[in-house]
Amino acid sequence: MDQLLLNQGFPLLSTLIFLPLAGSLLLFVVRDPHFARYWTLAVTSLVALLSLWLLPGFDRDTAAFQFAEYHRWIEPLNIAYVIGVDGISILLILLTTLIMPFCVLASWTYIKDRVPAFMICMLIMETAMIGVFVALDFVLFYILWEAMLIPMYFLIGIWGGPRKIYASVKFFLYTLAGSILLLVAIIWLYTANGYSFFIPDMMWKGYPFTAQILLFIAFFLAFAIKVPMFPFHTWLPAAHVEAPTAGSVILASILLKMGTYGFLRFALPITPDATTTLMPYVLWLSIAGIIYGGLTALAQQDMKKLIAYSSVGHMGFVTLGIFVLNIDGIEGAILQMINHGITTGALFLCVGMIYERTHSRELSSATGIGQYMPVFVTLIGFFSLSSMAFPGTNSFVGEFMILAGTFRHDVPLALAAIPGAVLAAAYMLRMLQKIVWGGTNNPDQSWLTDLNSREIITLAPFLFFVFWIGLGPQPFLAMMHSSVVNLLDQFHVYQQAITAAGMY
């Protein structure tokens, strides 16, 4: 329990978790779509403002879990309601809370029927997402992890595109099947840890090697499907393409990060020996994801699918950074998680805006719109630059740190990752060129209207963060530094203890 810094006074984290849920209860009896939209915007904005309150009270010099709360919950099984935030999770929580109001704004005219139900799904998703990042009891984590599936299934299955049924069922089944063995792993850890589900107590214990390998495989299946790592990525293009804009943004910006967060929070500290043993395989699998994602994105004609495959590539960089197990790699990976959330979220919002106008996701029907939508192509231009990790934008910092960490670990690995960066430039520039200028036989786009003020307000903050993190990443890196240093220190201490005990 000494890993927790218990919260005094106002239970900020619990409020952040349960406020969206409380807000959604009202919408069960509401029928008016306008009220539903304004109410949800108000609730998500309130949660976003409250989450900013975490910043002043956050101590950057400690790796303990802050704002922690501990309550007994299910006594017979020793399940407790324990939550807390550290350097790794605070940025992810802020990403979640700050993106949600903009998702609501983006759905303002996109969703036309069953609006209250849509907003209920969004709010319940927000509860589950924030909860996953702060949960410190494994059962609480698992419950919130699985609880996300139902609203996401409905978001895709009810308001989705033509193949929504296929995409939603595939998403649900794939993710659930991956998480099932996680449940068995959780229960095994419970029995091996004196019948407790408290996560910090499970870390850095020298479990038997076979047990560690099996646990790592169970963790890997659940998280690799979520990330998604090649070859478990096939649910992603379907889900992204068929989901409504807000659904795609939530999926890309936040849900994918839960997989990598899981690797960092659980797989590494709980099964360190298995991590070091299986590290090379995971690293080369990440490279495969980077190259595969890049090549497939290059061949796409559907804009959303292009960005979906680019996500596979970008998340490959993130897992690469995590598993090289040095300070640059992990810090770069965490920063890249945030960057990807911002950039890809913004790109999906942009594509959604095109879709609302042309009702097509095909690249061929969106060519040459630069002449008629100058503000829009400026914004999408900057976000494309960010996606290809252009210096000055946020992704450059993240990708550079990851590559630096990878070089330090293993040069051939880093050399294999470089083509991924080139491919990113290739597919993004191809898409950008087609959208802005096109060719000689563009369709007639003169009827298109440029962005209205609501859409500009939706995209502006993303642009702001692209440049803030790109030009001045120090504040963000400072927040995560202590926790990452602590993670790596504990890892080295553990390795030395194991070598001294002669287990190698």
Partner: protein, 470 residues
Amino acid sequence: MLFLPELTILGAALLFFLLTLGQPSEKTIKTCAVTAAAVILFATVLCLNEGGDLFYGAYRVDLFSQVFKVLIAAATLVVFLFGNGLSGIKQDSRPEYYLFLLVSNLGLVMLVSSIDLLAIFIALELSSFAVYIMVPMRTTSTGIFFQMEAGIKYLLFGVMATGFMLFGMSYIFGLTGTTSLDGIAQQLPILANRPAAVVAMLMILAGFFYKLAIFPFHFWVPDVYEGAANETTAFIAAVPKMAAVALLIRLTSLASHQGEMVLNLLMVCSIASMFYGNLSALVQKDLKRMLGFSGIAHAGFILLGLLTFKLSGYASSLYYIIGYALMNLACFLVICQVAAKGENLGISDLSGLHKRAPILALTLTVALFSLAGIPPFVGFTGKFMLLVGALREDHLLLVTLAAINTAIAIYYYLSVVRMTFCSDSNGLGNVQTGFLTNSLSLILVTVIIVMGVAPSWFVGMAETAIKTIH
């Protein structure tokens, strides 16, 4: 006072017998039924803390039995409150139907208190025969003619299972010289590993595996579920299973000394039930048949708790069967309401339910996700506790297979949810729901969520109840 619940049920049954002699109106029958069920529930709650022996030690009233009586009475009340009236039963036969249902209830209530082999037999037969008659009592006006086949199957399988049970009971009597469960509990540990004793215990368990629908005693399930009227199926799916779990808890604590043999058999039955139920349910098109097969799979899960032979495992099984009964009652509430003429519902008959009856759609979705084992509902918490209990006893393979089964099951539950929420009504009409049905649905949904999120109280109560029989 010890016998008050039973006398109340008997009184209600006699009341309905009197009603069958006349020509009561629709409204009278329904009012009498609901009032009777409410009075029975009140009587069982009143007698919750009674304790004592009756009938020369053949009948014991303790917290364990009284808790089950409350549950049985509550489930019966919910079945009686289903909104559509007994649309699947012929108008003239409705008083008889309620009579048989109450007699079956009486049998089940007596079953959970019986601690003598013969008393168990009598109570079991009383409850079973009443239901054997209820199954074919379905109108043919909706074009369904196989209720008779369903009834025959239920009768023949049931009688055969009882035959097994009696044979096992005779062996136990021969070995121990007594029919009282207390006496057997004292003598059985000494002769635990004799083949005759093992075979006898397994045969007795067979009788209750039939009621709970465990593989290989499950063959009656799909046809009976599909052939019987919707209300009958609702009763069969929820209530006798609770009594079967009660008796199984009593009997497996007796069998716990018999070691590997019984444990291995329970494990095999559990795994076989789960896989058979889930895989067969994947291809079903009729909703009740699908729920029947899923019931077989859930029965396999309950066995997971029973085979730990520990108090925590039994308490988890008890918690799970309560949750299971609730989830099933919620599903059948929707089925009975949507099938206005008492016909069988295919899964495609539910399309667009979110528009046709929003509250029923919500209830069905919550119940199905709970059956699938998605947090934060009671289905997940129950499954989780059963898995924890099993893993504590080092049954790793069993737990992994059970977890895999959850993944298999989700597909068919999801298909129904998809029909309910994600598709259009295809010209099917709106569903009438009254205030009573809506409130009952919302109450069931709330209890499913509350039991899932705050199970401590329920599990604590289950443990207290089970402690009293040791």
